[in-house]
């Protein structure tokens, strides 16, 4: 088996039944047993379609026209049942929440084995083996919906590994993880490949995957292979604006390019008084539990705040207090001097526009235009102003020409941009975004972050993120949240230099942060790698 490829794909093309154009075209590559292949590319380039072809969901669950050959360990899988393929190929979906079916960890890991009708003794043995391997035996009897993001990811992986596949497909396994959990996941993936597992991993966070030395990289563009080869070669072929490369590489490449435009947030004119004020705010979802513990802070005009912290630290709960969706159990939150207990969420929305993490919870309108007009209409803006606001928002998120498209028919990345535009169009004084870059490709999110910061409409911007580089590049203030408390609040250059504190809050310094820390004495502030390349 060592000399035959684990995955061999030849001239593979696929067109979804209800689409005119091919989703992937003439894909050919192979992965040898024990190799790790990184599959990268912009949103909608065909990565997920390729995964579905390998794991058999295409054409069994997703119908369409398929051509070409897929061989797994030299066996043509076109006539295999999904059950048979699932014993060769294990798939961990992008969001573990979408994959976990069991209510308890043990049930979840057992699910596939129960379907294969193994004996109860063997099922129990395999559950223990998988949990032990991933170091999560202590979670065995826990309820799955109470697990942290990192734990969920490991449990989803345990459920797949228990079926003893020889090939593992991972669709953006790092997307919902905090930096420390992402590092743990990557170490685990490397360990699996070192022990003979063949892994194909789709990931936008290319820089992170660099650290575990993938054997091969496949870069896709518009359904086709643009690059197939080693990691070193990738940085030479692909533009550093398209994927997130390690900062030293960008530094090298950007030195010969013209310096980037400096992006400075210019806040709209407003009062010097705090826009939002937290006074000793404490909160718990249930009696006896405390998610926020005595938080006091103010959001002022000119702030670009990055809220950083581990999964479950209380970041989203904190922000939901600012818009009045949650009311403090103790203390108070003032929005423009008014207690959120005494004003409606709709009234707060005039001051604070909040982009939720998941776009699918808010999109409903038949067209992008109507979706974007919904907020300003609720806030009773006049029709002429609404037209202008909507158009401006569409342009910022790069969806020009899509005004008449139904938002629900767009890709996830595009839906996310519609959800951001929907709040931009409301022209609130503060823009708040929860994980704005999740599910977005690098080029897209950098472009709209650049555009948002240059808007003259906002007096302050706040975003929750797991991406430290976003804080390094865009924020002028960092809030570090840990266990329901703000453990650090200050300029990024002050907060992010405390590496012990970062480690304690499950944050991992990136190559860009390290580079900035080395040069901050000269630069005076944090800069993006392209800008650092032009500073002597």
């Amino acid at each position: 088996m060592g000399h035959t490829p684990a995955v061999f794909i030849e001239n593979l093309s696929f067109r979804y039944r209800d689409r005119q154009e091919l989703a992937i075209r003439d894909i050919s590559f192979q992965i040898m047993p024990g190799e790790l292949l990184l599959l990268a590319g912009a949103s909608g380039c065909g990565k997920t379609t390729l995964i579905r072809c390998i794991n058999g969901l295409i054409p069994r669950s997703y119908k369409g026209e398929i051509s070409g050959r897929i061989l797994l360990h030299d066996q043509d899988t076109s006539k295999f049942t999904l059950a048979r393929i699932s014993q060769i190929v294990g798939t961990v979906l992008q969001d573990p929440e979408r994959q976990i079916l069991g209510t308890r960890v043990m049930n979840e890991v057992a699910f596939g084995l129960e379907n294969l009708a193994l004996s109860r003794d063997e099922i129990t043995e395999r559950i223990n083996e998988s949990l032990d391997y991933l170091g999560i035996k202590h979670l065995r009897d826990r309820e799955t919906f109470n697990l942290s993001g990192g734990e969920k990811q490991k449990v989803a992986l345990a459920g797949v590994l228990a079926m003893h596949p020889s090939i593992l497909l991972l669709d953006e396994p790092l997307a919902s993880l905090d930096p420390a959990s992402a590092q743990e996941a990557l170490r685990l993936i490397r360990q699996l490949t070192d022990q003979g597992m063949t892994v194909l991993m789709v990931e936008h966070r290319v820089e992170d995957v660099f650290k575990i030395n993938p054997d091969c990289v496949l870069f896709m563009e518009q359904g086709q292979i643009r690059y197939l080869g080693t990691m070193d070669g990738l940085s030479k072929v692909v533009n550093y604006h398209e994927i997130k490369l390690p900062a030293p590489l960008i530094l090298e490449r950007a030195a010969s390019d013209p310096p980037p435009q400096s992006i400075q947030f210019q806040p709209a004119i407003g009062s010097p008084k705090p826009l939002v004020q937290f006074e000793e705010v404490s909160f718990g979802y249930e009696a006896g539990s405390t998610v926020l513990k005595g938080i006091s802070l103010a959001i002022n005009r000119g702030d670009v705040i990055a809220v950083l912290g581990a999964n479950g630290a209380g970041k989203t709960t904190l922000v939901k207090h600012a818009i009045g969706l949650l009311k403090p159990k103790a203390g108070r939150v003032l929005v423009e001097g008014k207690d959120t207990r005494h004003i409606s969420v709709a009234q707060v929305a005039k001051t604070l526009g909040y982009v939720f993490q998941s776009p699918s919870h808010m999109l409903f309108a038949p067209t992008v235009y109507e979706e974007l007009a919904f907020g300003p209409t609720n806030l009773r803006h006049d029709p002429e102003a609404i037209r202008k606001e909507v158009q401006e928002a569409i342009d910022i998120v790069n969806l020009t020409g899509r005004e008449k498209d139904p938002p629900l028919a767009l890709s996830f990345g595009q839906q996310k941009r519609v959800s951001i535009a929907a709040i931009l169009a409301m022209q609130s004084r503060i823009l708040v975004m929860d994980e704005p870059t999740a599910g977005q490709d690098y080029r897209n999110y950098m472009e709209f972050m650049d555009a948002i910061l240059q808007l003259p409409n906002f007096e302050a911007i706040l975003f929750i993120t797991h991406d430290i580089d976003l804080a390094v590049i865009y924020a002028n203030r960092v809030l570090l949240v840990d266990n329901g408390q703000v453990v650090a609040d200050g300029r990024p250059e002050e907060v992010l230099r405390d590496l012990d504190l970062l480690s304690a809050t499950r944050l991992v310094p990136t190559s860009l942060l390290k580079l900035n820390l080395e040069r901050v004495e000269t630069t005076g502030r944090f800069l993006r790698a392209e800008a650092l390349a032009h500073i002597q």
Partner: protein
């Protein structure tokens, strides 16, 4: 991700039994309650269900919302019956007037009058007792069944694997739908949407509910597709499956099932011989 009802292991009558035995007893109890209109019989069922409810170990705070709903629904439904006498004429033919309540005003020359009769009063009391017994027995189910055992419970009741797992997912779909609804509600409120400010006729109001209904529905559909993919990728439905967890009947469970079935036949027999029909004290 599917969430579950708030289940905790408690020391209660309901959790003392095997969940399958309890569900069989519950079905028999439900059927028996629906056989009678006599408030004396229904009072017995009401007292039994109240005793079970109180001994369930579920704190009042945990159940306050469903209890409030039951109370409001029961009062509204029986109150409407009392005021209008709706449905009553199917179980009684004549009425005995207790008092006649006439409004102290007229509407376009018509004076609203309520004839308070013994039959209307006892019929609405009967309705209230039925609703109370059925609803209080039903709300115990989600709080008392272990979500990790839903599938095996239904499989153990004789359903095929696929149906049993579908029932498992359905039981979890309801709280998941509730969570998604609240998330959508929050997202739209953050866009200035106020449900309490809906104006216009019924159709217009339903139309204005679209910002809530559409995302929740779409989310449910997408969620179902994800679940199907996740199940397919782990070989669900390719043949008979093994359920890791096993449930074993104990003597008390058999006794409960026998008691439930006996109760059903006794009540059925009583009902057939004319016992438990509508009754008023005359």
């Amino acid at each position: 991700m599917l969430v579950t009802w708030r289940y905790r292991k408690r020391k209660s009558i309901i959790q003392w039994f095997d969940p399958r035995a309890w569900l069989i007893f519950y079905a028999c109890f439900l059927a028996c309650t629906l056989l009678f209109w006599d408030v004396r019989y229904l009072a017995v069922f009401g007292v039994v269900s109240l005793a079970i409810l109180l001994s369930s170990g579920i704190r009042l705070m945990e159940m306050r919302r469903p209890l409030m709903f039951i109370a409001l629904f029961g009062i509204f439904y029986s109150g409407l019956t009392f005021l209008t006498g709706r449905g009553g004429m199917e179980v009684y033919q004549s009425e005995h007037l207790i008092t006649r309540l006439a409004a102290g005003f007229t509407l376009f020359g018509w004076q609203p009058v309520i004839n308070v009769t013994l039959e209307k009063a006892f019929f609405s009391l009967g309705i209230f007792l039925r609703v109370f017994s059925l609803a209080s027995m039903t709300i115990l189910i989600p709080y008392s069944l272990n979500p990790a055992q839903y599938g095996i419970i239904f499989r153990g009741l004789g359903m095929p694997d696929k149906i049993a797992y579908a029932m498992d997912l359905t039981m979890r779909f309801i709280p998941t739908f509730g969570r998604d609804f609240m998330m959508t509600m929050d997202a739209q409120r953050a866009r200035g949407y106020e449900l309490e400010n809906l104006r216009g006729g019924l159709i217009n109001q339903v139309r204005k509910m679209a910002p809530l209904i559409v995302p929740v529905t779409i989310h449910a559909i997408i969620g179902s597709e994800d679940i199907i993919d996740a199940m397919d990728l782990r070989a669900f439905g390719v043949g008979p499956r093994v359920w890791l967890e096993q449930l074993h009947y104990k003597r008390r469970d058999i006794a409960l099932i026998v008691f439930g079935i006996l109760l059903f036949f006794v009540c059925g027999g009583l009902s057939m011989f004319g016992f438990g029909k509508f009754w008023v004290p005359l």
